[in-house]
Structures are given as C-alpha cells and as structure tokens.
Symmetry: C2
Subunit: 302 residues, 2 copies
C-alpha cells in the first residue's frame, strides 16, 4: 500500500503548501482522494500517469478539497483521454462540473460518471475485483464523507514444495489458491491445508478529512491498517476545532487508539503553525505509530 | 506601466508553465486580467498584495483563463477581505461562482460585484478617475472579449520657474495644471501656455486573448502603447490556428503593424514548442518592437 501526499494543508493554497489531495495505491488499484487547486500539476510533478486514475473521491465541497477537479477533468479532455472516469462526492458536484463544461462549450470525449452521495450512514460505493470502498460519514460544517478502502481477501499462498511433490498440474493452482482440496489422478484427496498457507491479511486505508472529533467513528474504523485523520489544530487551539468542524492531533490519536488501527497519518494542518513536528509529539502522547503527512511525501505500508 | 505575467501558456497547467493570468499596473491602478488555475499562488510568489486587486477581467470561459477565479474569491474570503471586488466577464461567470459558494455554504464577507458581458461591440465597462477600460470583442470558439486599458489624460506640467517668477499662490496650481490661465493680484492675465508644458501622453494597454486573426481589430487598437496579442501557433501550424480560434505570431504582428502600436507582447503559446524564441523571430519579420511574455516576467513600458 502506497500513499502519495500531493497536498495536506488546510484552507488556501500557498507558495509552499498545497491543499488536500492524495493518491492511494492499494492492491494494484489507484485512487485519487480529494483534488484541491493545483492537483493536476502535482500529479505531473510526481509522474503519476493520468490514465491510471479512474476513480476520484471528493470528501466535501469546500474549495481546498475540490477546486482542482474541473481543471483535471478539462485537462483529461484536452489530452484526448478515452478511459472512463468516475467521480464520487456530495450531491452538487455534478451540477458544478457540468455547468462549467456547458459555458466552455466543451464536452469530455471520455465517459464521465458521477456518483453523488447523500446518505448519512456508511455505504459501499465501489466494489472491484480487488478492493471495496465505503463511505465514512463525517461531521463537518457541510455534508462530508471520508472513504474506507479495503483490499479483498487475497488468494491462499501455494506451498510449492508440497504442490510439486504431488505433481499437481498448474491448471488446478487457481482453485487451490481459492481453498479447494486437490484430487490426484489416483483419486487421493490432498486437503488444502497441506498445500497452502494463509495469505497476507487484507490491508485497509481510511481517509477522514474534514471532521470534528467524533468518537463513534472508531467502530467503523476498527482494525484498519492506516488511518489518515485530519488534525487541523493542536490542543492549544482546541477551542477553534469544534466550532469549525475540525480536530486536534490529540483527538485524531484518540480515534486511532480506540479503533486499534496499525498506523495513524496526520494532515490538514492549519498554516498558522511554523512546524508540523508538534502534531506528531502531541499525538504520540496517546498513540504510538504516528506519521506526518507532508506535501510530496510518499508513505509505504506493508 | 508595468505588466507582470503570472502565466502565458495555452491549454493545461503543467509543472513549469502556467495558464493565462497577468497583473497590469497603469496610472497607479492595479488590474488582474484572466485567472487560470494557480493564479493565487503566483500572486503570492510575486508578492502582489491581494488587497490591491479590486477589478478582475476574465476574457472567456475556457478553463485556462478562469479556473483560478473561484479559489481566489474563496481565499479572499478566508483572509477576511473587506474591500469590494469587481468581476468582469462573459455571462455565466456569476452563476458558476455563486453555485460553488452555495454548495460550500460560504458567502464572501466583502462586496462581490459581477459585471456580466454579452455585447458584441466595444463598450466602456469601467471609468475611474485615472483609467477607462473598454471591451475588445474577439473571435474565438466561445464568446470572448479582450480589454483595452487607457490612462486618462494627465494634468499639464507646471513650469516651476515661470510659476515662481509671477509669485503665483500654490492654491492656483491645480487649476493651471488643468489648463486655466493665471490671474495675478494686479489683474494681469498670464496665459496657461507660458506656465505649463504638455504632459506625457496617456498610455494604453490592450489585452487580446484568445482570438483568431481578426484584421478589423486594428481600428480599435490604433496607436495603443502596448498590445498583448495571443500567438498560440507559429506559421508552420497556421492550419490549426483558424479552426481552433487562435492566431500565429505573424498574424499578431500584422495586427500590431496595422494598428501602429508602439510595442507588441506575444503570449498564449502552445506547449508543443520547445522554445518560444521562434515566436519573436517570426513576428519580427513584420513588426519591430516585439516582446515575449513568459511566466514570471515583468515588463516595464515608459
């Protein structure tokens, strides 16, 4: 699982900080999560091929999370993209994009699908062969969702030494990896447990931004591998967090601990702070494995 | 007159090229012309104070000329701007901006005025104490206007030696600069021509992008000081220019020559060309004073 942070600062793009956008690579699928102004340039800078992006998830309709979307859609059009593109986001996103395409008298030469969300409970919105994606309803000033990406269970791992010992034909491998027993030519049955071992457990990534501190989130986030949770503020500015629908680093860590996640990634820092190290320090008082997102940072989780 | 080119490349923003946006400072007024994605970051990079920008002129509703506008408006909001902001652009721009503010449930704390254009003839759209701005109807794939900024005639220059010789009180200076004669205490009349000399002639700046080659433009552009005219293509790609509503460098120069402007600035280059020097060379075959716009370039004209 690989996370490329294109931008992770709150509010306005600045000379050296980008608004929210990240690319998640999980089980060989690529997902773009949020798309602040300038995202297309950051994608180029990181040499992420535009054609690989087929699904874009927008958390909410504040500008720092989606003002780069219309430019990305237009650029794909100018580059003669043919691959379909799916946009997931709050109700309204389709109207905003189509209005701008209408006034430009420009229509995409590729299929553009909108999946507008309005549910207040979690729902599975994408189910591929390799990954499922479900919404994480968040509490913010406007309707907002996080997204939970889960790898599908992986096939069992063949114990090649055993498989070869019984001279099993390669045509049966797929079935054995799915858990089937093997039937030899002489009729003997070799139980699957002799031929395979457990695969790596499926990994999962939860993106939660923007949100006020919501302890009930922990239930849906239980045991996820990596939780990205916004931490706009430090505790010293906790009085600003709740009224603006944001969280502190300590609150993000409290969610991580309650949900027993493996790793916490912090981001969406207010630009009032000179350094982001204090966010890690504060979160570490509550939770061990804390990573700081930063613009251009690539995080690998195995 | 000072022109800061924030971006001058056609089509999509890239790692090292920005879409169209420029800041014109003329007669102590500051105008933002077009506002492609990333403009707010370029304004910061050039340390152009946001508060100085009170008028934004959008040529047309293709993304590379206005996708940065909504972000700029939002950032002004987040920074608690109080000064009014005027947006001039094609009909539709108000609907696009307000739709996005509505879904963000965010409204500007500063007065935001839209001046939507639909006229197909030139019209004066701004008339301050120091400058007038009129539209330049352009021929492009969608409704588009250039903008012509003209300094108001400046006051006559006092010949201080003469003024002091007659012991004229400072209270009369303003009137004399406007062209009045002086009446001395003994009743003598000193004709204005003895006390003043002609001021600098008013300067003017015409922004023409995007447009196909339109010879009739020369009439409205006659004798302007500086003409910015798009040159998306070189002559070798002239066959692409007309159908896409664009011009070549040679065509831009032909307009400059026919209009007898003092200086031509080229820009809106297609990113297909490795170097922009060829644009100057081609235009120079037709017109002498050719300047190449480039991202980050500041041009002074006296």
């Amino acid at each position: 699982m690989k996370l490329t942070v294109l931008g992770c600062y709150a509010a306005t793009p600045r000379t050296f900080t980008n608004p929210t956008s990240q690319v998640l690579e999980i089980n060989n699928e690529v997902f773009l999560i949020d798309c602040g102004e300038g995202t297309q340039v950051e994608l180029r800078r990181h040499k992420i091929k535009f054609g690989k992006i087929k699904h874009v998830f927008i958390s909410h309709l504040h500008g720092d999370h989606f003002y780069g979307l219309i430019g990305l859609i237009s650029t794909f059009m100018l580059l003669n993209r043919k691959t379909e593109l799916h946009i997931y986001g709050p109700k309204g996103i389709k109207e905003i994009v189509l209005l701008q395409l209408k006034y430009a008298n420009s229509w995409t030469g590729y299929p553009l699908y909108f999946h507008e969300l309005s549910s207040t409970g979690p729902q599975v919105i994408l189910n591929t062969r390799k990954v499922t994606v479900e919404t994480i309803p968040l509490k913010h000033r406007i309707y907002a969702n996080g997204y939970l990406f889960r790898e599908k269970p992986k096939p069992r791992k063949l114990l090649m030494e055993e498989v070869e010992k019984y001279n099993i034909d390669v045509a049966y491998y797929k079935g054995i990896k799915k858990g089937k027993d093997a039937v030899l030519e002489d009729g003997r049955i070799i139980p699957n447990v002799e031929l395979t071992e457990d695969p790596e457990p499926p990994e999962s990534y939860a993106f939660c931004s923007d949100t006020s501190y919501t302890p009930s989130l922990a239930e849906q986030l239980e045991n996820v591998t990596v939780l990205y949770h916004e931490s706009t503020f430090l505790e010293e500015h906790a009085y600003l967090a709740a009224p603006t629908g944001h969280s502190t680093a300590r609150e993000a860590a409290a969610i991580a601990r309650a949900a027993k996640v493996s790793h916490l990634v912090l981001g969406h820092y207010s630009t009032r702070y000179e350094s982001i190290e204090a966010f890690k320090k504060e979160a570490n008082e509550v939770f061990d494995s804390v990573h700081l997102a930063d613009d251009g940072k690539v995080l690998h989780f195995e």
